[in-house]
């Protein structure tokens, strides 16, 4: 077998439209992010108590629980395949197959790797319709609740009072969740914080629930679109890999996808984003004017 050089590797990489591959991989990874995130939602929902404003009735909690269960099944199914992919990839590298694609032994290894990769895509393809269905159900339930409870039953002023709770001077760290939608934070991390928030508080107040419901709803809305796109991409990735099987090559795209899925399922230190808290304020209770609303 030949020893692969950096130059050879670069040439191999150039032969594939790398940008498109990365883009595709990113989309599939986002699909997985959704799954990882939803696993936390179900656990979080199990701890919620009935709020005064009915944002999380039993139907919504059931939807969340079901989504969590579907996500967990998919994770479990993928874990074994990804473990196998890892081993095959290691074997391929140790056998110095990169740059020696014509070697019969390497071709066999490459086909095995490709087959496992197709298996991974197959599991995703099989599970995603269920995910899409449950995510849509949750999104629609929350949508109905938000429209009714916050949209139609509240004025801007009462919404503001709900968010502030009974005590406007309450400390910021206690008042509500420290995360916001669209913060750029990894979805799974955000949902982990949702979980911690709900689990750590025995009596969730309306203000936290309103923010929580809004955040979950917006995420679900985005997630729904992403799952649909991911499904389309999986179909395309499957077709390409089936073609690759004929030539027995490992594409950078495959490696990207597998690495992405691994980082989501088994942890990724780089994306462990911390949410900055507000600077400590004065604890001294301020003067309250008779003019204050």
């Amino acid at each position: 077998m030949n020893v692969i050089t950096g130059h050879d590797r670069a040439r191999t990489a150039q032969s594939v439209p790398l940008n498109r591959a990365i883009d595709k991989a990113r989309r599939i990874i986002i699909g997985f992010l959704v799954l990882a995130a939803l696993a936390f939602v179900g656990r979080a929902s199990a701890n919620t108590t009935a709020p005064t404003i009915r944002l999380f009735p039993t139907t919504v909690i059931d939807d969340l629980r079901q989504t969590s269960s579907v996500a967990k099944e998919m994770e479990t199914g993928l874990q074994e395949v990804i473990g196998r992919l890892d081993q095959q990839q290691q074997l391929y590298a140790e056998s110095k197959c990169e740059g020696a694609e014509n070697d019969p032994g390497c071709q066999r290894l490459s086909r095995q790797l490709g087959a496992t990769y197709l298996e991974m895509l197959g599991i995703m393809e099989q599970r995603l319709p269920d995910m899409e269905h449950t995510v849509n159900n949750t999104r629609l339930s929350l949508e109905k609740r938000l429209r009714s409870e916050l949209g139609n039953k509240m004025t801007p002023w009462t919404l503001q009072e709900t968010l502030l709770g009974g005590n406007p001077q309450q400390t910021a760290s206690v008042a509500g969740p420290s995360m916001r939608g669209k913060s750029g934070m990894r979805l799974s991390e955000r949902f982990r914080q949702y979980y911690q928030l709900v689990a750590s508080s025995s009596s969730q107040s309306d203000q936290s629930l309103a923010v929580l419901a809004s955040d979950i709803y917006l995420d679900m809305d985005e997630t729904s679109t992403l799952i649909a796109r991911t499904r389309e991409e999986i179909a395309r990735a499957t077709l390409i890999e089936q073609l690759n099987q004929s030539f027995g090559t490992i594409t950078p795209e495959m490696m990207e996808v597998v690495d992405g899925v691994k980082s989501i399922l088994f942890g990724d230190d780089a994306s462990n984003v911390q949410v900055a808290g507000p600077p400590p304020g004065s604890i001294e209770q301020a003067y309250r004017s008779p003019l204050e609303n």
Binding site: L163, Q170, T171, G176, Y217, P280, S289, N293
Partner: protein, 182 residues
């Protein structure tokens, strides 16, 4: 006409014009300059005097000047001083009770006066959400001045800032849900 003009001497005409000018200047408004004091209590006394001397139209400017003076000596008691001043303004009839509340709450309360209204959010707030958020952003800047720089109420200001972000998120979700239901 010609006979009258011919009889009035130029010196009498000049004297009449001068007396008219003097009378006119007596009747005009005072200069309405604000206080030059750096002490808030003194500045408020000066402003009260000016306001009751026919300069009430300049209330906004005086209020801004008083805030600037208070920024020079920030302390929690400033909230009460401003509240008392606004209540005095209301009692004197310079401001309505509602105006006084607006002036106070815009600067010294956590809640947003820009987020007021008697109709539901789907019909009232959502159609003008962008406008509401711009107004709230401006109000947050005034709260930074009143709560943080005048009253040293860090906690209050950070809660207002947090409330602003929460409203932004909740309105985005609620208005998306309202739009989906139409």
């Amino acid at each position: 006409m010609n006979s009258i003009r011919g009889r009035v001497s130029p010196s009498i005409l000049i004297a009449l014009l001068a007396s008219n000018f003097l009378l006119a200047s007596c009747a005009s408004t005072p200069p309405c300059s604000g206080s030059t004091s750096k002490n808030l209590e003194t500045a408020i006394d000066d402003v009260k005097h000016t306001l009751t001397s026919g300069c009430e139209a300049h209330f906004d400017r005086y209020y801004d000047e008083l805030l600037r003076v208070a920024e020079g000596d920030p302390k929690p008691e400033n909230k009460r001083i401003f509240s008392d001043f606004l209540m005095w303004s209301s009692d004197e009839g310079l401001l309505s009770q509602r105006q006084a509340k607006d002036y106070y709450n815009r600067y010294f309360n956590v809640k947003f006066m820009s987020m007021a209204g008697d109709y539901n959010n789907c019909s009232h707030t959502c159609p003008r959400r962008d406008r509401v958020m711009i107004d709230m952003e401006r109000e947050l800047s005034d709260k930074e001045r009143g709560l943080l720089r005048v009253s040293l109420d860090n906690e209050g200001y950070y809660r207002a800032d947090e409330l602003y972000q929460e409203i932004e998120l909740v309105l985005e979700a609620t208005c998306t849900a309202c739009a989906a239901g139409n």
